[in-house]
């Protein structure tokens, strides 16, 4: 930071560096702006849920569940610079918490719509506890060491379900009893639409909180720590505390995402939360665009759309059932992997980076429209 730049009036300096001016008026409106976006997206989602068939509703609900986890991972990896290969395990924590809670409620004969909310809250809290433990260790580690530890978490946690099969029922997993939609919505209300509403509402709420956090003082300290730890510490930021906080926030959203997945699938098993899921989440975030919450959305959409797409492609080809099964399970993996490598080498900004570059290019071409 040179002396001349520091001497400029704040607004001019912001214009030079490309930052938004951070005066009171703009900052105060962030919450309102996010609330407005939330309302619009929510209304659109309700409209869409009536317009499309049940299966698409279910897919959208799954996108929402993944979006929770990818948004959290974006905060952690993109904004705070900590790599986590263990988010699949954190999702498993949330999913198993929901399963155990719902089963406990069902065993005691409790019914009611609010129970699911309670289970999801328990999932978030349980994952926060696990995330805090991993986060405290993670705050002391850098680069490949952190990646190695979180990789170990991703490999080990699903194996725990088999080790303690008295509680988690081993490879079989647990079923998740979920209430049908309330009768007030009508007798023939499709279950998938109800799932989308639940999943969408929970995700939008989580995204609102995360988006506000990213725009807040905490979000700025996250980025400061990512960019230069020494400078951040000199500026009075507690580096380790910031990193643990980022990990906890990220874990909370991953737990919620896992809980939502358990609710959607109505079952949990260790196979659903393997190392591959963790790699998928990371890959979705990278391809979507690290460091941008909008990138998390692209990633989540990709996670649901690509397997579906390869399924339709393999159905078009006439293959023997055995070959088709092999292709169907592995083709999405291969495509994901190749895309990940190509994106990392050719376009590190991901989809969202390409889009914003495209947008800026268009704006630059027609300067008259800018004013």
């Amino acid at each position: 930071m040179s002396a001349t730049r520091a001497a400029l009036p704040p607004r001019q300096r912001a214009a030079e560096t490309g930052d938004r001016p951070l005066d009171r008026g703009r900052r105060g409106s962030t919450l309102l702006r996010h609330l407005a976006v939330l309302l619009v997206v929510g209304l659109v989602l309700v409209a869409v849920s009536y317009a499309v068939e049940p299966f698409r509703n279910f897919q959208l609900a799954t996108v929402a569940a993944y979006l929770c986890a990818t948004a959290g991972l974006t905060v952690l990896t993109g904004l705070n610079g900590q790599l986590s290969l263990g988010h699949g395990a954190l999702m498993a924590t949330g999913a198993y918490t929901v399963a155990l809670c719902q089963n406990a409620f069902a065993d005691r004969g409790l019914t009611g719509g609010w129970l699911l909310a309670l289970s999801l809250l328990a999932a978030v809290l349980g994952t926060v506890a696990v995330g805090a433990v991993v986060g405290v260790a993670a705050a002391r580690l850098r680069g490949p060491y952190l990646a190695g530890v979180t990789l170990a978490v991703a490999v080990v946690v699903p194996a725990l379900a088999v080790t303690f099969d008295g509680v988690f029922n081993g490879e079989q997993g647990l079923s998740v009893p979920v209430e049908p939609p309330p009768l007030a919505l009508g007798a023939y209300f499709p279950y998938e639409r109800w799932q989308l509403w639940l999943s969408g509402a929970a995700t939008l709420l989580a995204l609102l909180l995360v988006a506000n956090l990213v725009r807040s003082r905490y979000g700025r300290t996250f980025r400061a720590v990512r960019d230069d730890e020494v400078a951040a510490r000199l500026a009075g930021i507690h580096v380790a505390r910031t990193q643990v906080l980022a990990f906890v926030v990220s874990a909370a959203t991953a737990g919620l995402g896992g809980g939502l997945l358990a609710m959607l699938a109505q079952s949990v098993s260790p196979g659903a939360f393997s190392l591959t899921l963790s790699l998928f989440l990371l890959m979705a975030v990278v391809i979507g665009g690290l460091g941008r919450l909008a990138g998390a959305l692209w990633g989540a959409v990709l996670l649901v759309a690509l397997p579906d797409l390869t399924h339709s492609v393999t159905e078009l080809l006439t293959l023997s059932p055995a070959v088709a099964q092999r292709l169907e399970g592995n083709l999405p993996l291969a495509i994901f992997g190749v895309t990940l490598i190509v994106v990392m080498i050719a376009a590190p900004g991901g989809v969202q980076g390409l889009l914003s570059r495209l947008g800026r290019g268009l704006l630059a071409r027609w300067p008259a429209r800018r004013s």
Binding site: R142, T163, E229, L282, A334, I341, M344
Partner: protein, 292 residues
């Protein structure tokens, strides 16, 4: 006591494989400052090639040789085609690209061979010989010790005594100066990748028959154990990798023998966390300070 002796020998045999695999990680870390998270998948790919060759020719030894050659080639290929083009400015980038490689390799293997366990051959019997009424070690264990001993000594000799080894160390230590002095730095890097991947393939050939068999994910847990071994020894120290491998092998053997084999993954995680939190540089690292 019999059990203890058996578990110790079994642990050392397992640990020798982890040591070789950890050594491969250390080789790449020293040459390129990259932890090769794709090492396990690359080694499994080489083992599958060996499986095909052995199945076609009926010869274990031809397959064994082919696995090592395939490992060498795959390592060179990965460096030339992928890793060389990655921006190393952030340490996250090579890790993410390596994970992409894991996905691709496992997917391709799954497509070609299917996601089921295939039995892997052994050249020697795995039933233990008894000395004085105590089951000590099997001919296969001896084969593992001998092979890995030869590889470790050959690598040590190469780095310490040959011109190529000196060039490789120079290229890793001071790339710019070495380039000025006429060392082919890029070539040395590729050689490092090839060697590491060859050693990894050898380790995979030795360890896969002792576990469930050949599977695209067969090396996932081995990779985590070997990474732990490398961290225990310090990522920069080849000697540390060998000692770390033996320590991890012994620990896992005792845990699975006395507490149940389900607990071994957890034991790896606990050991990894403990070492990183207490002595992050590894047991063999010189005193060093990280900024902040």
């Amino acid at each position: 006591m019999d059990r203890f002796v058996f578990l110790t020998v079994d642990g050392l045999s397992r640990g020798a494989v982890y040591a070789a695999f950890a050594l491969a990680l250390v080789l790449i870390w020293r040459a390129a400052r990259v932890v090769n998270f794709a090492q396990g998948a690359m080694a499994v790919a080489a083992a599958y090639v060996a499986y095909s060759v052995s199945a076609a020719t009926g010869s274990y030894w031809l397959g064994f040789l082919v696995a090592i050659v395939a490992g060498l080639l795959l390592g060179a290929l990965v460096d030339r085609v992928v890793m060389r083009h990655v921006d190393h400015a952030s340490p996250l980038n090579p890790v993410i690209v390596a994970l992409g490689l894991v996905l691709v390799l496992q997917a391709v293997l799954g497509m070609v061979y299917g996601n089921e366990f295939r039995p892997a051959d052994v050249p020697f019997s795995r039933s233990a010989l008894t000395v004085g009424g105590v089951a000590v070690l099997s001919p296969y264990d001896l084969f593992v010790f001998a092979t890995i001993g030869v590889v470790v000594c050959a690598l040590a000799w190469m780095f310490a005594r040959t011109a190529v080894g000196l060039r490789m160390r120079a290229a890793a230590f001071a790339p710019e100066v070495s380039r000025l002095l006429g060392v082919n730095v890029g070539g040395m890097l590729t050689l490092g990748w090839a060697l590491a991947s060859g050693v990894g393939a050898l380790a995979a050939m030795l360890v896969i028959p002792t576990e469930l068999g050949l599977h695209p994910h067969a090396m996932d847990l081995v990779f985590v154990s070997a990474f732990t071994a490398a961290v225990v020894g310090g990522l920069d120290s080849p000697l540390g990798a060998v000692v770390g491998g033996l320590v991890v092998g012994l620990l896992l053997s005792y845990v699975s023998g006395y507490a149940g084999s389900d607990l071994t993954p957890l034991a790896v995680l606990v050991l990894l966390l403990a070492v990183l939190l207490v002595r992050p540089g590894g047991l063999f690292a010189p005193v060093a300070a990280r900024r902040v």
